[in-house]
Each structure stands twice: as structure tokens, then as C-alpha cells.
Amino acid sequence: MPEVFVSNIGDFPEGDRRIVFHNGIEIGVFHWQGGYYAYQNQCVHQGGPCCEGVIMHKVEDVLAPDKTWLRQTFSENDAHFVCPWHGYEYDIKTGECAGNRKLRLQSYEVVRRGQDIYVMTENCHEDI
């Protein structure tokens, strides 16, 4: 069974997530800024349930034109989910590890069929 049912669209509001299970694999599915993103729920660090952590916007330094530091702020566009074990942060739209973008979570294709959302468990992205 390559497809795993995630949710009815009406039951999966923007900003929410679901954890689905398939053949011993846990997959976290996020609904974020109009898109759906699915990753294996296993942190690249020590294997924690990274998809179950809080979602925080990316923290950024704000510099003046003369390169002096002004303040920190939260990004308006970029958000991370954070592994609850140790704090590894992941880009919610790519699954890349914020601290080292060479590291990324196994990602999965998400498809909509009618009013339902599915994750394609046999179509994991092989470039990972």
C-alpha cells in the first residue's frame, strides 16, 4: 500500500500536523502556508521524534548598512520545526537541518485526492 491516508482537508487546518505510521516508519505531515510537507519522524542527530516538536520562525540577526548589529528578529517567511529531544531545527518546507543544510530528513510526496490528503510512502525522495 503505497498511499497512507493522512486526513480530510477540513480536519487538517493550516499550521497543524499529523503523524502517520506505515510499516514501522513514522511520518510527520505539516500543513504550512498553503502547502503540505511530509518527513520521516526521526531526527538525524540521535533519532528523536523531530516532527513532533514546536514550530518556531527562524531567528535572524538584523544588521545596519555599516554592518553593525542592530537586533534579532523572527523571519516572516521561514519557519522551523524543532526536535523536542535536543533542539535540532528543520526547515518546514524542505526538511533541511537549519544548522547544516547538507543534512536533511527523508521526505515524502503528499497528494490530494478529492477532499483527502495522502502521503506516498513508496515515493520517498531518493536524492536524500
Binding site: 540521535q46 533519532g47 514546536v54 514550530i55 520562525h57 524543532v82 523536542p84 533542539g87
Partner: protein
């Protein structure tokens, strides 16, 4: 229960449950077959502040007890007997267990709460025996009142022995020494050294007392005679002038937890304490491992040129370090080649002991050791359990005490 991320959304979560949080760790334990050998965790923690009312029952000084009880009251906004550190161990809410921990339920009428919660995570990750330490009290060494350090640590030690260690064979501890008072330090070893579950004594390293001061020699002699190890536990202190130059907590944490142990280790070796007490076992906790080859190279190099400044030494500083024990956490796994060399130079197969630091944010699971590709199965088992079993004379057999959740 609500978490507080910075965006508009609040994430509702079910009641906090350590077993659920660590479900992936339990799978690791089953997959790797931890039921085949014992695992000892030489540095774990609980939050003694959540049991402070129980602990204060053991505080003899009536005036200090009244101050402490008043400061623990619900309206005591500006009263506090415990010194606290500026810091952000919870990463601004990114590590939810910091905020949720106090809500975790334990069965009524069962184990004391701290013991029950500790055994819950031990069973989840496969740890059979844990050496348990407090958390806020790690900062007590820089309390401005030495008499408060003595009174609170003695109350804590009495509480831990009577309420926790006496009832739970899987929990042991190296008890807090009030190192700012050398006489009280000696008396603590006398008073608690033979209590059930006491496997050594602890110096919280964040303090400003030199370990080579003559006033401590009687304590080292007593520990050596009693065959009890002494351990130094790293921590940070942002109010320290040197650390005050650092503007982010990551820097304070990364350097602070190593800084004080580097000072104490330097004084310990250069003043020839290992030659004076050759059978005294010494252990270094929560400084990771990367600092060790740095110290070995730095001091060997200078000792060869300035030998006359350390006349008590009969071998290289690094040779004394190889007689010591080092706890693994937080193990810097960023360059496998460097890590392999680090384990080689410290004779890890006999001198390295696994530590988790759970439940703190930078905890290490047993898999950080078990999955190292360059270690033999024997070396893994030594580091995860056998070395500590021998060091603490735990007499652990083949029976697995942890019930992996």
C-alpha cells in the same frame, strides 16, 4: 497544556509523559539488544526544586528553614534562598519537557516522585543503574552565603539518602560536598560516606576555591581510605567576569562547562595531588571529551620546558589524566576521526564511562556509544556499564534491571 511558540498558533499537547517522549529511545534499546548487558549512567539529574518542601524538612537551622520556607511560598516573588543562574537551558521553549515536566503524573502511593520519574526514563532508554545528581544546586558553589551552601546541601544529602537511595537500589549518587568550607567538606564525607547508595562524592566545579589548598588534604586522604571516588561536575556562570564577555548562551554553555574543570584539573595535576593520593579515583563530569586531548597536549608541551614548576610529577601530565575517569556526555560527535583519536588517547576502553545527563537538553542516549563504528563490542559494553560497575563496586550481574518500555 499549551506550549508557546512565537507564531500565532498554540500547540495543545496531551499530558506530558516521559515514556511517550522517549519511545524512539526504547526502540533503539530493543534494536540494539541492551538486554544483553548492564548500562550504568554516571551523570543524570532530577529537579530537586520540585521536592524542595520535602528537602527543607531536613534543614536543621530553624532560621534558615524559616527563610527557605517563606521564599518557597506562593507570594514570595522577591524572596529566594537558592541562587539562580541567568541562562536559557530550555532554548526559549524549543525543548518542551522543561515547561511540561512538573505536570507529569506518578502513581499515588508508589515510589517517591523523583525516583519514579527517574526510573521511568531509565526504563525507556535501557539504563539499569543511574548516578543521580540535583539540578539547581549545581550553582550552589557560588552562593554568597557559605552557611547556606552547607545547610542546603546537607539537607539535600540527608533527604536523598533517606527518601530516595535507601529505597531504590537502581539509584545511587555521589553526594554534594560544600567545598567552600573545607571542614564541612570533610565532615560530609564522614557523615555520609557509608550510607546506602553513596558511591562517591561530588564537587560542583563552578566555584572559586583551588583544589590544591592544604585544607582539603584530609578529605582526599579520607576518600582514598574509604575507596570512594571524587568527581568534578561542570557548569556555567554568566556572572563570571570572563564568561561575561560572551553575549549568547550557546557560548556561555559551550565554554563554561569546560572552563572550571580545566582549572581544577590543571591545579590537581600540577600540584601533584595524584602522587599524594595515588589510589584516589578521580572523575570529570559533563565537560564532554574534546577538552581532554587539548589539556594533554597543552600541559605535556609546557611541562617539558617548565618541569621545575611541577616538581611533584613523576610522569607526564597526560599520563596522570589517563589514570582518571571521564564521563562521555556531551560527546562531541562532529568529526569521527577526531573522536576516535580522543577515545584512543584517554584509554577509553577502561577510563571512559557513559553518562546521559538526562533530562537536560543536551542528553546523550546509550546509542551515542553503541553506534560508534570503531569500537569493539567489548569496548562498548565496558564504556556503557562495566567500567562504572567496577569503579563504583556496584556488583551488577548479568540480570537486566531496566524494563525497557
Amino acid at each position: 497544556m499549551d506550549l508557546h511558540p512565537n507564531d500565532f498558533r498554540r500547540m495543545s499537547v496531551e499530558e506530558f509523559d516521559t515514556t511517550k517522549l522517549l519511545a524512539h529511545a526504547s526502540k533503539q534499546a530493543r534494536d540494539r539488544g541492551y538486554d544483553r548487558f548492564p548500562i550504568v549512567d554516571v551523570d543524570s539529574h532530577h529537579y530537586e526544586n520540585e521536592s524542595m518542601r520535602e528537602i527543607l524538612e531536613y534543614l536543621d537551622d530553624p532560621v534558615l528553614r524559616q527563610l527557605a520556607l517563606a521564599s518557597a511560598g506562593p507570594n514570595a516573588k522577591n524572596a529566594r534562598i537558592m541562587n539562580t543562574m541567568v541562562g536559557y537551558q530550555d532554548m526559549g521553549g524549543r525543548i518542551p519537557r522543561y515547561g511540561l515536566r512538573s505536570s507529569e503524573k506518578t502513581p499515588p502511593g508508589g515510589d517517591q516522585r523523583d525516583a519514579a520519574l527517574t526510573k521511568r526514563w531509565m526504563d525507556a532508554v535501557g539504563v539499569d543503574v543511574a548516578v543521580l545528581f540535583p539540578t539547581p544546586m549545581l550553582a550552589l558553589g557560588v552562593h554568597p552565603q557559605v552557611e547556606v551552601e552547607i545547610a542546603l546541601s546537607r539537607a539535600y544529602n540527608r533527604w536523598l539518602c533517606e527518601r530516595v537511595l535507601s529505597a531504590e537500589p537502581r539509584l545511587v549518587s555521589m553526594l554534594y560536598l560544600p567545598f567552600n568550607d573545607p571542614d564541612a567538606t570533610y565532615q560530609f564525607v564522614k557523615e555520609f560516606g557509608e550510607k546506602k547508595g553513596v558511591v562517591g562524592f561530588l564537587i560542583t566545579s563552578t566555584r572559586y576555591r583551588p583544589v590544591h589548598a592544604n585544607q582539603y588534604m584530609k578529605t582526599y586522604a579520607l576518600l582514598e581510605e574509604m575507596r570512594l571516588p571524587i568527581a568534578f561536575h561542570g557548569s556555567y556562570h554568566w556572572h563570571d567576569q570572563a564568561q561575561g564577555m560572551l553575549n549568547r548562551f550557546i557560548s556561555v554553555h559551550a565554554l563554561g562547562f569546560v572552563w572550571y574543570n580545566m582549572c581544577h584539573l590543571a591545579n590537581w595535576i600540577i600540584n601533584g595531588i595524584p602522587e599524594r593520593f595515588p589510589k584516589l579515583k578521580v572523575m570529570w563530569l559533563e565537560s564532554g571529551l574534546a577538552w581532554i586531548p587539548f589539556m594533554m597536549q597543552r600541559f605535556d608541551n609546557e611541562y617539558m620546558m617548565r618541569t621545575s614548576e611541577a616538581p611533584a610529577l613523576k610522569k607526564l601530565p597526560s599520563d596522570y589524566m589517563r589514570d582518571m575517569y571521564f564521563a562521555s556526555q556531551p560527546m562531541e560527535i562532529t568529526d569521527m576521526g577526531l573522536l576516535e583519536n580522543t577515545l584512543r588517547v584517554i584509554n577509553a576502553e577502561t577510563q571512559l564511562v557513559y553518562s546521559s545527563d538526562y533530562p537536560h537538553w543536551d542528553f546523550d542516549l546509550p546509542s551515542t556509544i553503541y553506534d560508534l563504528p570503531f569500537l569493539s563490542e567489548t569496548a562498548k559494553r565496558n564504556i556503557l556499564g562495566s567500567n562504572a560497575n567496577r569503579l563504583f563496586n556496584l556488583k551488577l550481574g548479568a540480570e537486566k534491571l531496566a524494563r525497557v518500555a
